[in-house]
């Protein structure tokens, strides 16, 4: 409760004493937008944490061994994530819906349990320390890049590519009949999402002194998916709002000596999704300002008569 109270009474102090939380919100938002890209192009890919791991380990290892500048480490991490994205994307992108989801889960689990935990350089189960981390200073770059990413994605959805993704999401076969190279565009989305996740991973590793191999598993992917779905994946802002909401939720329901936060959080989750099945932010932006004729949902948009 103090949380809200201070936020309204003394926002400046709030900002100064919650930079870590705000930074995490930023990271999660970037992750969420990486999930947005795949969902928007009709792919239920849950591979994000895998690419995060690649970004994180790459940048920290480069920093520890070669003392290269952080920016460069980030960049390499992003590129590596992209490359892996291509390699993984080629076989799995013909899968649909839940099958794609499970395949990507297979990928992330194989990566973390099979590779990361068995390559000595990653520190295996001990995890990887990042002595150069800058928890309190990292926030600016996070917020800045979040703003840029959201803006660019928004532009992207407005353009030819975005419309094509829109079409693919709704009906791949019809999209083909309009000459849209579905496979290529899905791949573009998949790789873009991979690079965003890699970027988020790199940033996060810079905010915490420790890269924990167990944090890039299914739990994380479910969390990220929740951001996107709860926030609404029809609009760039949706996932960001979802991330904001879900990352602050535990703090909002934090009451000293109250041990049942998850009970409350779970209940809130259920209520929100029941009352906004399409996500907090509807397809046309904030649902409150949604024009009357806008479709309520895919299924209800059936032709009368």
């Amino acid at each position: 409760m103090d949380f809200i109270l201070q936020l309204v009474t003394d926002p400046v102090a709030f900002y100064q004493t919650h930079t870590l939380l705000i930074a995490e919100i930023g990271i999660n938002s970037i992750l969420a937008s990486s999930m947005f890209v795949v969902l928007y192009s009709g792919q239920l890919s849950l591979a994000a944490p895998g690419f995060m791991a690649i970004g994180a380990y790459t940048s920290v290892l480069m920093g520890n061994y070669w003392n290269t500048p952080f920016a460069l480490n980030l960049l390499v991490g992003i590129l590596l994530a992209g490359v892996v994205g291509v390699v993984v994307g080629l076989p799995v992108l013909r899968l649909r819906g839940v099958f794609l989801a499970i395949a990507t889960i297979g990928f992330i689990e194989a990566l973390s349990l099979g590779v990361i935990l068995n390559v000595p350089i990653t520190g295996e189960g001990l995890g990887l320390k990042n002595p150069d981390a800058d928890p309190l200073g990292g926030i600016n770059i996070v917020l800045a890049s979040l703003a840029v990413i959201v803006f660019l994605l928004w532009r992207l959805t407005q353009g030819r590519l975005g419309h094509a993704w829109d079409a693919i999401r709704q009906d791949e076969l019809a999209a083909l009949s309009q000459g849209i190279p579905v496979a290529r565009y899905k791949m573009i989305a998949f790789v873009l999402s991979a690079m965003l996740a890699g970027y988020a991973g790199g940033l996060e590793s810079h905010l915490n002194f420790f890269v924990d191999p167990t944090e890039y598993g299914v739990a994380r992917t479910v969390q990220v998916l929740t951001f996107a779905v709860l926030g609404g994946s029809g609009n760039v802002l949706g996932p960001v709002v979802g991330a904001l909401f879900l990352t602050t939720l535990p703090e909002i329901v934090r009451v000293p000596n109250f041990d049942y936060r998850d009970v409350i959080a779970g209940a809130i989750l259920i209520l929100v999704i029941i009352f906004r099945p399409q996500g907090i932010v509807g397809r046309g932006g904030l649902a409150i300002i949604r024009p009357r004729w806008w479709p309520k949902s895919r299924s209800s948009a059936s032709a009368p008569g």
Binding site: R96, I105, G106, F107, D262, G266, I274, P277, Q278, S297
Partner: protein, 304 residues
């Protein structure tokens, strides 16, 4: 080696038992009920509490445990699924609502310790416990270098029996036919006088009861009951199993369960323990790429 084969069969049975509930709901609703793992855990937890804290006989505890899981099935349907159906929400929305419920259930058990508001449900908090020895007779035989532990050996026939009953139920009974009708086309089904909502409710209840039973068996054989057994140990493997077997297919779930068990143990024996899990998931990955519809899933191609 022989022992490892047995291990594969035992764990396979557990996977199968767990996955059947999942696949049942998915087959009918095209929804992944992520609260299933929580219900699985709840079945074990309640049964344990009844035996240890309320001093009930194991049999009674089992019945009550499974019953309360069935009730939890009602909760899932009425709180997580039906409202979303009414609002014509996309299936993925149900993912969130069931996650929410799972969160609540796990938290309730996890925070169940002396003096907490959930102490009536569970008192060991986040700790892991096991049924006190003697809860059920558990003789262990050593045959030709193999160790046969009663509770584990028992799982296999129980699993097979349950699956056969369920299979018959779905395939040949009137209810089963109705279920498949609803699964394929709820609209048409309701036009034939089927009460679709009732069918779905029954499905979720049945699935949850199965989940609870699976949880109890798990607690017995693996002697590990904690708030996390469903979520940490079985949820993802359960998903893997139903995909391996083919979404919505019950024989598929069973076959998938044993297949995953085999893959995991094989990976351990062949590649060594440290990459075992990785190999198992890599196998899942390949399986999907090579045969997306799974073992028993029908090839799906759209009509233009």
């Amino acid at each position: 080696m022989g022992q490892q084969v047995l291990n594969a069969i035992f764990i396979g049975s557990i996977y199968a038992l767990f996955a059947v509930g999942y696949t049942l709901v998915f087959g009918v609703l095209d929804i992944l009920n992520l609260a299933h793992s929580a219900v699985f855990m709840l079945g074990a937890a309640i049964t344990y509490s009844l035996v240890v804290n309320y001093h009930q006989s194991f049999a009674v505890a089992c019945v009550l445990g499974i019953a309360s899981c069935a009730v939890m099935g009602l909760v899932i349907e009425y709180i997580c699924l039906r409202p979303l159906r009414r609002r014509r929400a996309p299936p993925i929305a149900a993912l969130i609502s069931t996650i929410g419920l799972a969160l609540i259930i796990v938290a309730a058990v996890e925070q169940g310790r002396q003096g907490s508001i959930f102490s009536w449900l569970w008192v060991d908090g986040a700790n892991s416990v096991s049924f006190p020895s003697g809860t059920v007779p558990n003789p262990t035989w050593h045959v030709g270098g193999l160790t046969l532990e009663a509770t584990k050996v028992a799982i296999v026939p129980v699993t097979v029996a349950l699956m056969l009953v369920l299979g018959y139920f779905i395939r040949f009974t009137q209810f089963g036919r109705g279920l498949r009708a609803v699964a394929e086309n709820p609209r048409a089904a309701s036009l034939m006088g089927l009460d679709v909502d009732r069918m779905i409710t029954l499905t979720v209840v049945l699935s949850s009861a199965l989940g609870g039973a699976a949880g109890i068996l798990f607690g017995l054989a693996i002697s590990d009951i904690s708030p996390y057994i469903g979520r940490d140990n079985l949820e993802i493997r359960g998903l893997a199993v139903i995909v391996l077997g083919g979404m919505g297919s019950i024989p598929g779930a069973v076959a998938g369960g044993y297949l995953l068990g085999a893959i995991e143990v094989l990976a351990l024996v062949v590649f060594g323990s440290n990459v075992r899990a990785g190999v198992a998931f890599a196998a899942l990955f390949l399986m999907l790429v090579l045969r997306p519809q799974g073992l028993f899933g029908a090839q799906v191609h759209e009509r233009l």
